[in-house]
């Protein structure tokens, strides 16, 4: 039991790091564009399918394939934002972008069904099913690689945000769009690029997810987006640190409940944790407490 538990915890942290990567993208989109991108889940799946095609049909290694899928998904992201999100105006802009991204998600899901059908796919490589023995249990290499990749990408994101001009523009836009415009920041460009970046890192996350998630098909998008949403809300909308902490916490919690109790209930606990946190802290863990009024 103790060994299973520690295995679950380690798996949770490593697996959670990948979710953290995807959640950071989602929360970044919220922070900069003030919208919730429901399509993020299906875009992860799309990334997984792309990796699959490269791996199985072109025999390119999964990680090497990222050199193709990541830029491709970046373009996909920018296109989606530019074509479907940016034109939305009016008072209900936020709700409409939510619906628009949901519509995009449905379309992508349908297309993926048409191309790939509803069978479950898996990404495979030598390191997916083999690994070292640590603390008495087996750990697939892919988890370690995935964790390292997530680490590298998160560091890269922080570097970009805090050390580059572009990152400064992003942070400024997150704080106050109008003020950012006034100081000459091209907010439209920042938003499009941020969306692209967020989607691009989902490609990376998608690859690891495809290898470790236990099989994916187009329907997996729903499960993913609901988890990611729960994670960023728990962490606090717009907070990158919050997204990371929440991701690791919730995935680990779910894994632990899985082992201690049962798989069917672990998912309920996952969402229950969200509800519980919000009941006591409506702004999430790292969210800014809304001022009393205004």
């Amino acid at each position: 039991m103790g060994r299973e538990l520690s295995e679950a915890i380690v798996d949770g942290i490593l697996g959670g790091s990948v979710y953290a990567l995807m959640a950071v993208g989602l929360t970044l989109i919220f922070g900069v564009l003030d919208i919730i991108n429901i399509a993020q889940g299906i875009l992860v799946v799309l990334g997984a399918y792309l990796s699959y095609v490269l791996s199985v049909h072109l025999h390119i290694d999964l990680f090497v394939g990222l050199l193709v899928t990541v830029p491709a998904m970046f373009i996909v992201g920018v296109t989606i934002q530019w074509a479907f999100i940016r034109p939305l105006r009016g008072r209900e802009r936020t709700s409409m972008s939510l619906l628009a991204s949901y519509a995009v998600a449905i379309i992508i899901e349908g297309v993926l069904y048409l191309i790939f059908g509803s069978n479950f796919y898996n990404l495979n490589a030598s390191y997916v099913t083999s690994g070292p023995k640590i603390f008495g249990f087996y750990l697939d290499y892919i988890y370690i690689y995935g964790f390292l990749m997530a680490l590298v990408l998160v560091v890269a994101i922080y570097y970009m945000l805090y050390r580059t001009q572009f990152g400064r523009s992003i942070r400024a836009t997150m704080q106050d769009q109008t003020a950012a415009r006034i100081v000459g920041i091209n907010v439209n460009r920042v938003q499009a690029l941020t969306f692209g970046i967020a989607v691009a890192i989902t490609a990376a996350g998608g690859m690891v997810f495809g290898a470790t998630g236990g099989g994916f098909n187009p329907n997996t998008g729903y499960d993913l987006i609901s988890r990611l949403l729960a994670i960023i809300i728990l962490g606090g909308l717009g907070s990158i640190a919050g997204a990371m902490v929440a991701a690791i916490f919730m995935i680990t919690l779910e894994g632990v409940v899985d082992v201690l109790w049962s798989p069917s209930w672990s998912v309920v606990v996952f969402y229950g944790a969200l509800v519980l946190v919000l009941a006591f802290r409506p702004q999430g863990l790292f969210g800014r407490k809304a001022a009393r009024a205004q």
Binding site: M96, L98, L99, A100, I107, W265, A293
Partner: protein, 395 residues
Amino acid sequence: MSQGTVKAGPLQAGGVQLPTGHDRRTTVARLGCLAVLLVIAAIFPLVITNALYTQFAVLTVIYVGAVAAWNLFSGYTGYISLGHAVFFGVGAYTVGLLTKQWKLPGGDIFALLPLGGLVAALVAIPLGLVALRVRRHTFVVITIAFFFIFQLLAFNLNFTGGNQGVSSPFFLWSAANYNNPFYYVGLIIAVLTITLSWLIRNSRFGLQMLAIRDDEDRARGLGVRTMGVKLTAFVISGGITGMIGGLWWFFIGQALPETAFNPLFDVTVALMAFLGGFGTLVGPVLGALILEPLQQWIQITYTNGYTSEIVLGVLFLAVILFLPRGIVPTGAEYVTKWRVAQARRREPATGGPAPGGSAPGGSAPPGSPPEGRTATGTGSAGTPSAGTPSTGGVR
């Protein structure tokens, strides 16, 4: 929205003059249209007996009712709920399980609907207490989270039948007009919900909700009990949705976790509301009347379920991108512009209706343009300040 204001007639109470002739004409025209629609709705299944079309009709009235119920909360308070499927499913399962439990014969089934609604309303209370304390973005997501929790519970709990769900027995009326009782019950629920919507719109309760939608904190600062108002609306909306879910179960004959708690339900309902005009009274109903038959038709035509999904998604996007404000407000704008053009054509020299606003020191000069004084109140009426220096002032 503006129509409701004209009907309630605050101006009549205040003594400011309006072109009452056209106002009465509009009301009569509207009531006439309403009467015609009701008659058509009532005799529809008697005239069109093709079972396929009456099936469309049943699903359409179900969605009309669902949209009206959804709009009652989300449209008026501005809190977009994407978790109303929870109430739909709870209603469906409640009614289903009770029918199985009590082994009711065919004809009495509809009596269970209020119970389904009641259970859904009770579920709405704790959900609302948690969800309504957060800001709007988070609210949307937490309703989605609730949805998934309930869907998972339906899968995992024993008494809900897990993957098998709950199936209904056969009902004891003739197969020929099988759909009709469902249609009429659905129609009644829909009409009652719309009527309730209308009553609420003109009431104190409704006004508070609309104030919350515009500026919740200011409303709270003025003494409106925002939590109470939101929660009441949420519970009423959830209860009605539950009843409709129960009706759906009877009609479809089976409740599965993925059909009773259907992720597309809320998106469809929201889309119908936005298509018709989010927050208006008539808009969502119109949206449902257009979209539901369309959706059914698409599913029949594109038998590949995936293609129909794509077509639906494209439709959603088209509506959102090209008709962002919805049919009713856009239509109302055109009507107002047309009316203004007519009025201007008719009375080019005079200032239209008598000026209101007795600012001390002088009344408004008669040159004020008519559109500033009419009560249609749509956004395009323009700033009424021209020519009234003591009140408006030029910006």
